[in-house]
């Protein structure tokens, strides 16, 4: 998405004082809730909530917070419909649409509500407030210290601040609890209070501007009391759950050069923190707000950065279409591909003169949630050691701890799926199998048993088919041992494991072993549903063709160990049954995905020189977010494949570095170049044709004979459009014409690495066109769907041409054209860049959405 900073004045944008966007009633809502949360209201607005057509509650927006305000309502029942609107002195919004239908929480959470999460850690003695998240809106939350209730909110928001009386004492064991409809969740993790730091950190006040009436103050200890002064005069003291606090209702509004101070305190008698200070900036310095992804078809704009308490405005093609408090501002009109959207922010006494102009692209996926955040159950841990089979098991439990009982409510619903994890070759003196506990815990929290297998007996031995087979034998041995535990009345896993839903994850040599296991496993009753090969080796131990299960591979682009990114071979050869997924992750290495592997192998000779890699937590987020999306889809039946296909971005992941390839079984393959019928015919056995000087051909995309050049490392047959002028065109005929309504055209593409083209050159691209049976054409540029990435820069001798999947939404082709989407008889490629670079293309498909 291209953005341009502009002057609001020069853009001559009209104001509509009567415009106010409907707020957002936060979903889901469940029966028995006695509160709803509404987001998007502007400062000072009154929010009205209607249930089944009758107004039942209202509230005034004080601090404008991303998660909205909580409004009490009469107890909701499943099937109720809820909507909201906001009102200011000058405007009233429409009602939010569509209404939210209240659900039965036992349908979504049959094993009970999610367990609450206390945040703002650590907890300190004398804390007067704490935060609790992972709640169902409108339920009841309370906090205990040494088993005594010290705070409660009935009809909670999410997250929810809970005031504490008495305040926390020293070394108290604190838990949060939650219930809805009398249905009690598991308690939170138990936290022990500690003495506060001395001195307390100095609060940090975010820049604020003249005309503002709210402040953001961060660096606050959990439970601290924050005092704010203006010009030396105390404005008040607020309890804070830690992290940051937003103070509202400053009156009169802030003035330029005014000095604001803040400090924090915890225990009486202890010294307060140092004082944080800012000088209020002039209104003219109020920056433009920041916005998240925006694409054709969106009905709201998501703001990512804005001043505390700002009112956010949106214009579509020069017309005001949205005004709200953020982070989501709903629009009165749907945006389309090619539209011009402008956004700006205002404070109570300050009109922001800086704006951002966006030309709406065809595809720019929104940020969804974090697929790994599903936190339902406490986590139990148990070890096993029987002959060569050694490992550690994480499982959903009654409470956190070692060998605690399996979660009874989950067990009552049936057996639970299993994921088995295998590490790779590394120093055998290191407990390599304990390097994925963060991932195992995430899986157990959502109701999956996760076993990590100790394969150290094979470590330090080199590489061979024998070693990979022995690793596979250990993995199968671990599954067999879990079968024993499942049959053992004395085991915490007795009767708990569903062996018809098994997933595998392997790293490095373990990644090759988990591709082998489904080929050779003979254990009765075991069905492998999914395999994640993380930076796998490929040395001939397998058929190299993952088949019969969902397959994912993660390829670290700065891998200095498995530097050929061999997992690309498995992806290229895998059958999408029901799907296959590849993540080529820039700026990640081989080792940082295992917490016990400390070296940065991007500094090794086969990778270096390359850009500094991401932090270890960023590596881990890639693994757990996308890995949980894989296992939730394949083992739990959750709708998480949009994260793998690129329709949604997982929150918290450095997705700008993730290049996705994805295929699913439900698709029309126009040309995958694997048919042996030459470049002149496609996979539909229909003709292709070239013009404008194009001399495209089919080549092996792999190392060795038949490759276009030595930069291809997968194993596919694909098409190369070599350089040769900017009028080159390739046409794929579709016999009879097809209805492409509600479809996407997918194609894998990469710029072919050529040493002569420097790494600092801008990206190249192409256009994809559709032609209908009447001859009407419409084209969309690759830059409008995310673009063609540059080859990842690393040691030039190991740089790669790595294809990614681009998705063109068919609806984009109808904007401003006469194209009849119901009868498309050709898909066309136009290589029109003046930079004249060669492109690699593969897997042209039409996919239903």
């Amino acid at each position: 998405m291209s953005q341009e900073a502009i002057s609001r004045k020069e853009a001559d944008l009209p104001d509509d004082p009567r415009l106010l966007s409907p707020p957002v009633v936060v979903e889901p809502l469940y029966g028995c809730a006695t509160a709803v949360v509404v987001a998007g209201g502007v400062a000072g607005a009154t929010i009205e909530v209607e249930v089944n057509g009758a107004t039942v509650g209202s509230g005034v927006v004080g601090a404008v917070l991303p998660y909205g305000i909580t409004i009490g309502v009469p107890k909701l029942a499943a099937g109720d419909t809820v909507r909201g609107r906001q009102r200011t002195t000058s405007a009233v919004s429409g009602w939010s649409s569509p209404p939210v239908t209240v659900r039965d929480h036992t349908k979504d959470y049959p094993a009970g509500p999610p367990r609450p999460e206390v945040f703002g850690l650590p907890l300190y003695r004398c804390g007067v407030r704490t935060g609790v998240g992972n709640l169902l809106v409108g339920g009841n939350v309370w906090v205990t210290a040494d088993s005594v209730e010290v705070g409660r909110v009935d009809g909670c928001g999410n997250p929810q601040g809970v005031n504490l009386a008495p305040s926390f004492g020293m070394s108290q064991e604190v838990r949060a609890w939650f219930e809805l409809c009398g249905d009690l969740s598991p308690p939170s993790i138990e936290h022990t209070t500690i003495g506060p730091p001395v001195p307390l950190p100095v609060p940090v006040i975010a820049p604020q501007y003249a005309g503002g009436s709210q402040l953001d103050i961060s660096n606050i200890a959990n439970g601290a009391k924050v005092t704010v002064k203006r010009g030396g005069v105390t404005q008040g003291t607020w309890g804070c759950w830690g992290g940051s606090i937003r103070i509202s209702g400053l009156s009169p509004v802030l003035a330029s050069t005014e000095v604001i101070e803040a400090f924090q305190e915890l225990c009486p008698g202890d010294p307060p923190s140092g004082t944080g200070t800012i000088t209020v900036d002039d209104c003219s310095k109020l920056p433009a707000p920041g916005v998240g992804p925006l694409q054709g078809g969106d009905t709201a704009v998501t703001f990512t950065q804005y001043a505390a308490g700002a009112t956010l405005s949106v214009w579509l093609n020069g017309v005001p279409v949205g005004k709200g408090g953020g982070p989501i501002v709903t629009l009165t009109k749907t945006v389309s591909f090619g539209d011009t959207v402008i956004v700006a922010q205002d404070l109570a006494g300050c009109r922001g003169e800086r704006a951002i102009k966006i030309i709406v692209p065809c595809v720019d996926a929104p940020v969804g949630s974090d697929p790994s955040e599903l936190d339902l159950f406490p986590v139990g841990v148990t070890d096993f050691s029987q002959g060569p089979n050694i490992g550690r098991i994480y499982y959903p439990a009654e409470d956190d701890g070692t060998n605690v009982a399996f979660n009874k409510r989950l067990a009552g619903l049936g057996r639970v799926p299993l994921v088995v994890i295998a590490h790779g070759n590394h120093d055998p003196a290191v407990p390599n199998y304990l390097g994925y506990e963060f991932f195992q815990a995430s899986l157990a929290r959502m109701g999956i048993i996760a076993v990590s297998v100790d394969c150290n007996a094979q470590n330090g031995m080199g590489y061979s088919i024998t070693i990979i087979e022995r690793r596979a034998d250990l993995i199968i041995g671990a599954i067999a041992l879990v079968q024993q535990l499942n049959a053992d009345p004395t085991s915490v896993l007795n009767g708990r494991v569903d062996f018809s839903r098994v997933g595998l994850m392997g790293h490095s040599q373990g990644g090759e072993a988990v591709v082998l296991v489904p080929e050779v496993i003979g254990l009765a009753g075991v069905t492998i549903r999914s395999v994640l090969a993380l930076a796998p080796t490929e040395g001939g131990a397998t058929k190299k063709t993952p088949t019969g299960y969902a397959f994912m591979t993660i390829l670290p682009a700065a891998d200095g160990d498995v530097w050929p990114n061999d997992g690309a071979i498995y992806y290229d050869r895998a059958t999408p049954a029901p799907f296959k997924s590849q993540l080529f992750v820039h700026r990640t290495n081989h080792q940082f995905y295992n917490r016990n592997w400390l070296d940065d192998d991007s500094l090794w000779p086969m990778a270096a020189p390359t850009a500094p890699v991401l932090t270890r937590p960023e590596h881990e987020m890639v693994l757990i977010a996308y890995g949980c999306a894989l296992y939730r889809a394949s083992l739990l039946g959750h709708a998480s494949t949009p994260y793998l296909a690129g329709h949604l971005l997982p929150a918290g992941v450095s997705t700008q570095y993730v290049q996705l390839s994805y295929q699913q079984d439900r698709a029309l393959t126009v040309d995958n170049h694997e048919d042996g019928n030459g470049i002149g015919l496609n996979s539909l056995n229909a003709p292709t044709n070239q013009s404008g000087g194009l001399t495209a051909g089919e080549f092996r995309f792999r190392q060795g004979a038949g490759a276009f050049n030595s930069s291809f490392f997968g194993d596919s047959m694909g098409m190369v459009a070599p350089a040769g002028g900017n009028g080159r065109q390739f046409v794929q005929e579709i016999p009879g014409g097809r209805d492409l309504t509600n479809r996407e055209v997918w194609i894998r593409v990469a710029e072919i690495f050529t040493p002569a083209i420097g790494t600092s050159a801008p990206p190249t691209g192409f256009k994809l066109g559709l032609r209908d049976v009447a001859g009407a054409e419409s084209w969309v540029d690759s830059d409008e769907v995310g673009g063609v990435p540059r080859p990842f820069p690393r040691n030039p001798s190991t740089m790669k041409t790595m294809l990614k999947t681009l998705r063109f939404k068919s609806g984009c082709f109808t904007v401003g054209t006469k194209l009849d989407l119901t009868s498309v008889d050709a898909i066309m490629l136009r290589f029109d860049r003046r930079d004249d670079r060669a492109l690699a293309l593969d897997d042209l498909q039409v996919v239903p959405i």
Binding site: T466, I476, G477, V520, L523, W604
Partner: protein, 129 residues
Amino acid sequence: MSTDAGSPITPGPPRSPDLPRLRGLHIRRIRVEAPELEHFRSSLADRHEAVEFVVETEAPVPVRAYGPALFVGDVEVDQSERLGDTTWRLVALDTDVLRPHALIRWGWMKDPEEVRQNTQFRYEPENGE
């Protein structure tokens, strides 16, 4: 009680995956010994004959995902097994592709040609060093 600010663990300097040089090489034909596995039959069970290269290195070989390999002419011999600190066995399962008198080079499995180390050895079946 003061708060522990933590003690960050600093990784050591990057472990170089540089291979030590070859000090000795012994070649012989062997019968393939398929691994005895508990849960499935090895794919090597149907193999009969192989060529074994036992190499001595000047220092221990670092541990990484891929093992060391010999390159007999253009043929990569990459089935490796550590026998001792500086003793490794490499096995060529496809014996027919090994050309007598071919120059032997030394490197990591999958190393591109330009980074392989030259050695003084040639492939002389059954003749040892």
